[in-house]
């Protein structure tokens, strides 16, 4: 995916991931009057993460709607609107709160098209701030993209760069299928090249963000910079890693992973999800089947510990994958 690297280089003024979210939504709102936003404090306040900053001012109260604290109503209303001609973009403030409207994500939105025999589509986006590392404690820090992975019928996007945020937001909002869009809290302040006008990143297309011959590292969202940093350190050691940014869990770009594995024969996944039930498990299970012949070593998952997220930094670091843990895992594997 040389284009990503190219884009990264091309940018003149860097933008933050946070700005990219608002920009990505704004581009689609300008293009298509059916796009409307709803969520808690997303209007005049610009969102608690300021990821909708400027939208209310530009598009006004008929396009940007503040809601009560009613996650079921937010996502349920988005569903009803999506079924009847709108393209709602619903914000669930923290991805942990998806649990408060899980029925809509698990049982309603992803199933209604199928169970009506294809009579309706549900073109909506549920955006949410995801992930840990900021000391927000057990109920505001989870990486929950794996919850969505348990549910057939949801597309799952989790960009790692500002340009991808914009490109994937465009693809998500234009998608006729429901998309859960995970914006990583730990990346909001990070900067990257801006996206060219009309930028779109097809959902389900992974990016090889570093090329290497020895080990494949597959990561998502905030784990992409962790993997890249580890790759850098490992490079100094003479271990040459391929780093794949999955970008989406559904569609899952297995082909890109297997292609990388064909070069490296070794796989380490890096995920923020707890090991039990994390997305890496699904990917590894595909590889253990279809890629078995490619493997020269065990597959290792660097994943979150199977505990709730603790508050203190010193504890949280023990739970979420770090560069060190990735380096150690890759070293062990390279030596196998």
């Amino acid at each position: 995916m040389a284009d990503v690297t190219a884009e990264r280089a091309a940018g003149t003024r860097e933008i933050t991931y946070r700005e990219a979210v608002a920009e990505g939504i704004a581009r689609e709102m300008r293009r298509d009057p059916a796009v409307v936003c709803l969520g808690e404090d997303i209007g005049e306040a610009g969102g608690v993460f300021k990821t909708t900053a400027g939208l209310f001012k530009e598009f006004g109260p008929e396009r940007v709607w503040d809601t009560p604290i009613s996650e079921q109503a937010i996502v349920g209303a988005a569903m009803g609107a999506a079924m009847t001609g709108m393209r709602p973009v619903a914000e669930i403030m923290f991805s942990d709160f998806l649990a408060c409207c899980w029925d809509y994500l698990a049982n309603e939105i992803p199933k209604v098209r199928y169970m009506t025999g294809g009579q309706v589509t549900v073109p909506l986006v549920v955006r949410t701030a995801n992930g840990g590392g900021l000391g927000f404690g057990a109920q505001h820090s989870q990486a929950t993209e794996n919850w969505a992975l348990t549910i057939p019928g949801l597309k799952i996007a989790a960009p790692s760069t500002p340009a991808d945020v914009i490109g994937m937001m465009a693809a998500a909002i234009r998608s006729d299928d429901p998309v859960v869009f995970f914006e990583h809290k730990g990346l909001l302040a990070t900067k990257g090249a801006p996206a060219p006008p009309g930028h779109q990143v097809e959902l389900g297309r992974a990016a090889v963000v570093r090329e290497g011959a020895d080990v494949t590292l597959v990561a998502l969202a905030s784990m992409v910079p962790v993997a890249l940093k580890a790759a850098e350190l490992l490079g100094a050691d003479g271990i040459d890693t391929d780093v794949v940014d999955l970008r989406c869990l559904v569609p899952l770009d297995v082909a890109t992973v297997l292609a990388s594995l064909a070069r490296t024969s070794r796989l380490v996944t890096v995920e923020e999800n707890p090991y039990q039930g994390g997305w890496g498990a699904t990917l590894v299970s595909v590889v253990a089947d279809e890629g078995f012949g490619l493997l020269d070593a065990p597959v290792r998952r660097v994943a979150g510990e199977c505990v709730p997220l603790p508050f203190a930094d010193a504890l949280e670091e023990r739970v979420i994958p770090t560069v060190d843990k990735v380096v150690t895992a890759v070293r062990t594997l390279a030596a196998y």
Partner: protein, 326 residues
Amino acid sequence: MVDRDELLSLYEQMAVIRRTEKAAHDLFLQGLVKGTTHLAAGHEAIAVGASAALHDDDYVFATYRGHHHALARGATPEECLAELMSRATGLCGAKGGSMHLTKAATGMLGSYAIVGAHLPMAVGAAWSARLRGTGQLAVAFFGDGATNIGAFHEALNLAAVWKLPVLFVCENNLYMEYTPIADVTAVAHPAADRAPAYGIPGEVVDGNDVVAVRETVARLARRARAGDGPAIVEAQTYRHFGHSRADPAAYRPAEEVERWLKHDPLDLARGRLVELGVRPETVTAADDRARAVVEKAVEAAKAAPGPDPSEALTDVWADGGAAWRT
């Protein structure tokens, strides 16, 4: 008020529903309907009366007990029974089943089997109508049991705050599955008594009187379309069958059952027709047509083919497919 011809037409619709439900019941006992069914015999006047008050492009969201709404909103008995009998010609191609009857083309936007879940959806459809400026209304039909679930509260409040053109029509049949609603609800009218909590009108109506239902819904629909916001209608009714499948409903006192069976929506409508001077033969003719339609529907559904197993892997995505990976 209602005129003769219209009432006769409403009566005939109710008769079709009654017979379709009876047919569904018999087919279930014959093993031709699998899974489960929740029959609406007894509830006909609510679906028919409310639908009579709606415009063609309004939206309806219903529950697992939704055959009557599908039929009242343009689905044919054949499409419904074919769905129940797992036929390819069913409303949802046999992918949905009894609990998910849907006919999107005529605004019947689905039957949902998680109690209360569709109320926020109806709010969203009403929001969408307002955003698109179409003058459409959305209606959610639901049971008394749904009034104690969180989604009810969230939907009502949001609809009220945004003053949306949506009506919440509760079919209060006194029971949830087997437990009386009165045992688990803090107020006497589980739906209407909650209306003040959202600053909206809440009206109790005889749900077995198709004219009363039509009138109430029409009035509140006008109000909602005019921008005055949502309302709750609590339509009192009773189910003739058990909750689902072969439930004999033994938990209901015989005296109560008897009283309600005497207050049958079809009988009430028939009585009104007679009052309006319609001749008994005219009513009988409507009954006969209803019987014929449903008999034909049963035969056609029986004769229809089952779904191609490969259909299991279609229609997850808008492109018609089900691929989740490369």
